[in-house]
């Protein structure tokens, strides 16, 4: 069955900054990275559908309601303490983006089935945690060194970019990408 995902490709300076950081960590600690780095944020966890046409239609219809300037900002780093640890860039909490994600989930829920159940967290941790993975595989060995390296990075308010598009992936390839400034649900 086809697997679908919704999220954004980071753009502008945040994309350049995180890509450069992944390359630097990979080189410094000799950790293998993916050949193609695409910094991105997942909006909805992977799902399947029995009605792709309706999915595409609802995806575009929901996003077309958002026509104001929305930006996202990188505000620091974090880690997921899984068996295989993950370092990520933290995106500053943004009510406009959170509304958009909740709206997408509500408008699509009748038509999709999430592959994995929602992780149950205590209420105070239920908030949407937008993050962009920096490096994951093989970091356990150098965990504290990478942690130190990331924490001494300097931040400026410029690691911000406008939200231009939201993608709908099918099996890792872009099926549609909603463009807020062209107001189009783009396909190839």
């Amino acid at each position: 069955m086809d697997k679908y995902e919704i999220g954004i490709r980071l753009g502008g300076y945040p994309k350049k900054y995180l890509k450069a950081l992944t390359c630097e960590i990979s080189k410094k600690f000799q950790i293998k990275k993916n050949k193609k780095i695409v910094p991105h944020l997942n909006f909805l966890r992977p799902f399947t559908t029995n009605n792709e046409t309706e999915l595409i239609e609802n995806f575009g219809k929901t996003l077309s309601k958002y026509n104001q300037l929305i930006t996202y900002t990188l505000e620091g780093f974090g880690t997921f303490e899984n068996k295989e640890k993950v370092f990520y860039g933290k995106i500053k909490s943004n009510p406009q983006i959170e509304n958009m994600i909740n709206d997408l989930e509500k408008s699509l829920e009748e038509n999709i089935n999430f592959i994995n159940p929602k992780i149950k967290l205590p209420e105070e941790k239920q908030k949407i945690n937008l993050h962009c993975s920096i490096i994951s595989k093989g970091v356990n060995k150098y965990f504290s060194e990478i942690d130190y390296f990331l924490n001494k990075q300097k931040f400026s308010k410029n690691i911000t970019h406008p939200l231009l598009r939201v993608y709908l992936l099918r099996n890792k390839f872009i099926l549609r990408e909603f463009d807020f400034y062209l107001n189009e649900n783009l396909d190839e």
């Binding site: 502008g12 300076y13 350049k16 308010k157 062209l182 396909d187 190839e188």
Partner: protein
Amino acid sequence: MNSFIFDRTEKAFKEKTGFEITKDGLLLPVPESFQ
């Protein structure tokens, strides 16, 4: 032409907001909320 490239989007963004996305990925002029 691949419609997933950002050329048309960046042009439309500039027309609608007045901000330009530079080659370095920064916004000009810098919005007040960024300063």
